[in-house]
């Protein structure tokens, strides 16, 4: 057994986290920053942070993930990291010539109290930032929240630090992407285009982390939200935040700074959440829903109806990130499945409240988030009440194999399969893909374990 020491009996833990269902803030900030065109993310801390984040993102995307580090040594840790950051800014602009450097902090620089606002201001005052170039920052202490918090903080940083209001409103809607894949961001843009809605999507990692093979490495690939677009977000008529944890803070920042009203939505994963997104976008952008979107929805519902017998009553265990889990659980309920165990390492009352609202339709489901809500606990829950399906990131494969559970990779990180960066989970097409995946693993299981006389040709 791969996880041979995991006992069935659940005992409360307070000190020890085992097999976490989260990671730390800075990697989220790095991912978000890659969604700005011409931006080099910069990790203000020890080299290891940057190396670990780049490695994890690279394994997930199988793509170049460029980022620099302040390379703290013991001296910097004692005397402060200002000199390291100033040197970094100088080196990066000279050697790599980005339009923007997006600096995020780490537990190290936060513990010693480095003030990124003050240091970046000093860089500007000392003329270390070339004309027309930018350095933005986000405070991302690893000892608060999770990678999702770090993503939200960097997205908020880009909104706050770039947005301007010219006094003249633009006929456009901001869409703040919660932590989703480049494929999902591309799908949001495609849906908006189909609806004729003018949007600014940020961040946008499509055409960055799914770049084509051309024989040339582009350190700043074609994609990413541009500075001009980010500036214009202050003039947009409203914002739609796709995710109450990872996207809403940026929308709030724009409201506070430029009075851009916002609506917070669940990430459009599954039927109901996509319905709400389409309705809200239609209203916000003042456009009608075109027939092709209605048809896409119809195709999804058609499959859900035709295959309903295979979903009904199937027990599901899930782990992952709040803004993805909430609509996914809702979708499983729409499919008549039974989410029974859910964990997420990401803390937050908003998350708990929203998940509990969704789980009203799933009485008795186990749900825990925040401290000690880890995959060890999830595994123990599964041992106590077995499930038919496990959904989560690649680390779930150890539980899936030990307990022999059909497994769908979903979330971050996915280290052992491709597809997540190319095929969306959001929108009706994304939901159809999820339905196909769920059906495939459940039916493969049936095909593998059915008695010979019960082996079905047609399913």
């Amino acid at each position: 057994m791969l996880l041979r020491h995991t006992p069935k009996e659940v005992k409360e833990r307070e000190g020890l986290t085992i097999n976490p269902a989260k990671t730390c803030q800075p990697i989220g900030a790095m991912y978000a920053a890659l969604g700005i065109h011409g931006c080099l993310p910069h990790s203000h801390g020890s080299q290891g942070c940057c190396s670990y984040h780049r490695s994890t993102l690279t394994r997930h995307y199988k793509e170049p993930v460029m980022a620099a580090t302040s390379s703290f040594t013991e001296g910097a840790s004692v005397f402060g990291g200002q000199a390291n950051l100033l040197q970094s800014i100088e080196t990066i602009f000279a050697v790599y010539d980005p339009d923007i450097i997006a600096v995020h902090s780490t537990c190290l620089s936060e513990t010693i109290g480095d003030d990124l606002q003050q240091i970046t201001k000093k860089a500007k005052d000392d003329s270390k930032i070339p004309e027309g170039k930018y350095v933005i920052y986000a405070s991302t202490p690893s000892f608060i929240g999770s990678h999702i918090t770090g993503y939200a903080n960097m997205v908020t940083g880009m909104a706050e630090q770039f947005s301007v209001s010219t006094g003249e409103k633009k006929d456009q809607v901001n869409i703040v992407a919660g932590w989703m894949e480049p494929s999902d961001m591309r799908e949001i843009k495609d849906i908006s285009k189909a609806m004729g809605a003018k949007i600014v999507l940020f961040p946008d990692t499509s055409d960055v982390l799914d770049a084509p093979q051309t024989g040339k490495h582009e350190i700043y690939p074609k994609g990413g939200v541009t500075v001009e677009e980010l500036k214009s977000t202050g003039d947009s008529k409203c914002s739609l935040a796709l995710g109450c944890i990872s996207a809403e803070p940026a929308a709030i920042a724009l409201d506070k700074k430029h009075k851009v009203p916002f609506e917070t939505l669940d990430m459009p994963i599954g039927l109901s959440a996509t319905d709400r997104f389409i309705m809200s976008l239609s209203k916000a952008a003042g456009v009608k829903v075109p027939a092709e979107i209605t048809a896409a929805r119809g195709r999804l519902v058609d499959v859900m109806a035709d295959m309903e017998q295979y979903f009904h009553g199937k027990k599901v265990a899930l782990f992952g990130d709040p803004d993805q889990l909430i609509p996914l659980v809702e979708f499983l309920l729409d499919l008549n499945m039974k989410p029974v165990h859910i964990v997420s390492g990401t803390p937050g009352q908003r998350f708990e409240k929203r998940m509990k609202e969704v789980l009203v339709r799933a009485p008795g489901a186990n749900f825990k988030n925040g401290l000690n809500a880890d995959m060890f606990l999830l595994h123990q829950w599964i041992k106590n009440e077995p499930v038919d399906l496990l959904i989560g990131n690649t680390y779930g494969k150890y539980i899936a194999r030990d307990e022999d559970i059909p497994f769908i990779r979903f979330g971050f990180p996915i280290l052992d399969r491709i597809g997540h960066s190319y095929f969306p989970n959001v929108g009706y097409n994304g939901a159809l893909r999820l339905v196909e995946k769920i059906l495939s693993v459940l039916m493969d299981r049936q095909d593998r374990t059915a008695l010979e006389e019960k082996f079905e040709l047609v399913m």
């Binding site: 057994m1 020491h5 006992p7 020890l16 986290t17 085992i18 097999n19 976490p20 990671t23 730390c24 910069h42 801390g45 020890s46 080299q47 290891g48 942070c49 190396s51 670990y52 984040h53 490695s55 994890t56 690279t58 170049p64 460029m66 980022a67 620099a68 580090t69 302040s70 390379s71 703290f72 040594t73 013991e74 001296g75 910097a76 950051l85 040197q87 970094s88 800014i89 100088e90 080196t91 990066i92 000279a94 050697v95 790599y96 780490t106 537990c107 190290l108 513990t111 010693i112 690893s142 000892f143 999770s146 093979q213 024989g215 040339k216 490495h217 401290l371 000690n372 680390y395 150890y398």
Partner: protein, 542 residues
């Protein structure tokens, strides 16, 4: 030694590599970029701070300590004391394979343990939570050992992981608990973490069990981490030859084996950089000599087995080693003869590790390929220039912060396995006893040696040399491949391997052949993007 292929003028290339840098950076980098001369061995600046912002391959001390050295031992519960990230990123990502004898034997490699420090722990201290975590780990698993790894904030807020470990060790009674001050900011790279790990393992584990080890030819395997099953292949060869492996540091190892390792009669070192401290300390305290060997490459493996036999000086062992080599080599030769015509004359670059960039050159040589440029990510001058430069290495502030253990001969257990005269005799026979000649003596004249290569330099090198293959790690993998050059990961082996010994050599030859001759590299341009596209002409089927 001159390279068989034509190399571009290296001084011009060096110029190209640094001319975009700000003056100070250029000056610093130029000392780490050296045109090789295997006869005179020029000095390479190494193990110095990376220029902030330059985009380095390097990681941190924690990665070197927990990730590299301690990670592979299966029955230690390794608890990371810090915010969640460090434990998460080092969870199963180094492919340290392990093979417990029984299905119920302890194996915690698949688990990730962390104290998940929160803001209140940073403000008010995290020792209480750490002790609680140790207690919970003990209650759940009753492991033989629990190791604690400090992340950056731990040192800054003054948590004493060593005191907490001592207290818990005493409290628990039957569990060895010890801590490592391997905060990420220590030193300039993973290398500091290796040293810290060596110190801790030596202090807290080696020597805990004095039961004499069984076997006639007993050795420890140092600096082999069983990535992709490398240690399994070496274990297979030892077993075939009748050599007893007492302990491995640390691939496929157990606490029990490491505690008993001082009962061996020889330490063989594979990765000099990460484990040479252990070799030195065990020699001083127990009188066990260490010898540099290399099991990467078929010829090198054969040579290393012969050296081991020579060390033990036993005619029977020597004969058995020759039999094993005679048995293994023909299979390797058959494969290499088949593949070599397709790899001959091709070029490679290796920028990785503290040892791999040297030893993997042997495999490329066996394929008839030339290494045109190489360098380490976190090595020291001795890994480039050979250990004879050790007395001349200036100890800077960053190295001074890493503890040097004061080791003396053990009053009871010190037992020199060989006399000074015997060791001198073995050295005269070419055995690298307590020595390592480094990478540069083996590399062609005019090849480039670059320490801590930056992203900018790597891209330039590829542009200028157009190598047939580039060897580095995951962060570089897809950058280089986007340029149309295959990249072989030499940390994770692209999830393949093993690459050690005879079977490993065959695996490597096949992988390199597949990579450099893969048709995909010719498919990058769409037909309409190719130059000299002929005008579209109508054609009709006959």
């Amino acid at each position: 030694m001159e390279a068989k292929i034509h190399l571009p003028d290296p001084s011009l290339i060096k110029e190209e590599l640094i001319n975009r840098y700000p003056a100070k950076v250029a000056k610093k980098r130029s000392k780490s970029i050296v045109i090789n001369d295997p006869e005179t061995i020029p000095e390479v600046q190494a193990n110095v701070r990376t220029v902030p912002g330059i985009i380095t391959q390097r990681g941190c001390s924690y990665a070197g300590c927990k990730g590299v050295v301690l990670g592979p031992t299966r029955d230690i519960v390794n608890i990371t004391h810090g915010p969640i990230g460090c434990s998460f990123y080092s969870w199963l990502t180094r492919r340290n394979q392990t093979r417990p004898e029984n299905p119920t034997d302890a194996n915690y490699i698949t688990y990730c343990f962390s104290t998940d420090m929160q803001e209140e722990n940073i403000v008010f201290g995290g020792e209480k939570k750490l002790k609680q975590a140790i207690q919970e780990a003990y209650d759940l698993f009753h492991p033989k050992a629990i190791a604690i790894f400090s992340t950056c904030p731990v040192g800054l807020i003054g948590d004493d992981v060593h005191a907490a470990s001592r207290e818990m060790k005493e409290k628990l009674g039957d569990c060895n608990v010890f801590g490592f001050s391997c905060e990420g900011y220590r030193g300039v790279s993973q290398s500091a973490g290796h040293h810290i790990a060596n110190n801790g393992v030596f202090k807290h584990m080696v020597g805990n069990n004095n039961t004499p080890a069984e076997g006639k030819f007993k050795l420890n395997l140092l600096g082999e981490y069983n990535i992709g099953g490398d240690a399994f292949e070496i274990e297979r060869l030892f077993e075939k030859c009748g050599i007893t492996l007492v302990a491995s540091f640390s691939g496929n190892s157990t606490v029990g084996a490491i505690e008993n390792s001082h009962m061996a009669d020889l330490n063989v070192i594979l990765c000099h950089r990460s484990i040479n401290y252990m070799g030195d300390m065990m020699e001083t305290k127990y009188g066990i000599p260490w010898m540099k060997v290399n099991f990467v490459g078929a010829e090198s493996s054969a040579k290393s087995l012969r050296k081991i036999a020579e060390y033990f000086g036993d005619a029977g062992l020597k004969a058995r080693v020759e039999e094993v080599i005679a048995e293994e080599m023909p299979k390797v030769k058959a494969i290499v003869d088949e593949i070599r015509p397709r790899t001959e004359g091709k070029t490679a670059m290796l920028f990785v590790g503290g040892s791999r960039a040297h030893h993997y050159q042997d495999l490329f040589t066996e394929l008839g390929m030339t290494t045109v440029a190489a360098g380490y990510e976190f090595a020291h001058r001795d890994d480039y220039e050979g250990r004879e430069v050790l007395p001349n290495i200036k100890i800077d502030a960053d190295s001074k912060n890493i503890e040097e253990l004061k080791v003396t001969a053990d009053p009871v257990l010190y037992n020199p396995r060989k006399s000074e005269a015997e060791l001198e005799e073995l050295k005269a026979k070419g055995l690298e006893i307590n020595g390592y000649e480094g990478m540069m003596k083996q590399m062609a004249s005019k090849s480039l040696v670059i320490d801590d290569v930056s992203h900018y330099e790597s891209e330039k090198l590829i542009e200028l040399y157009k190598p047939d293959i580039f060897c580095a790690g995951i962060k570089e993998k897809y950058v280089v491949q986007k340029m149309g050059v295959p990249l072989k990961q030499l940390h994770s082996y692209d999830y393949g391997g093993p690459y050690t010994g005879f079977e490993g050599a065959v695996n490597f030859y096949k992988d390199i052949d597949r990579m450099v001759n893969n048709p995909v590299w010719k498919l990058i341009k769409a037909p309409w993007e190719k130059e000299n596209t002929e005008a579209l002409e109508a054609s009709y089927g006959a």
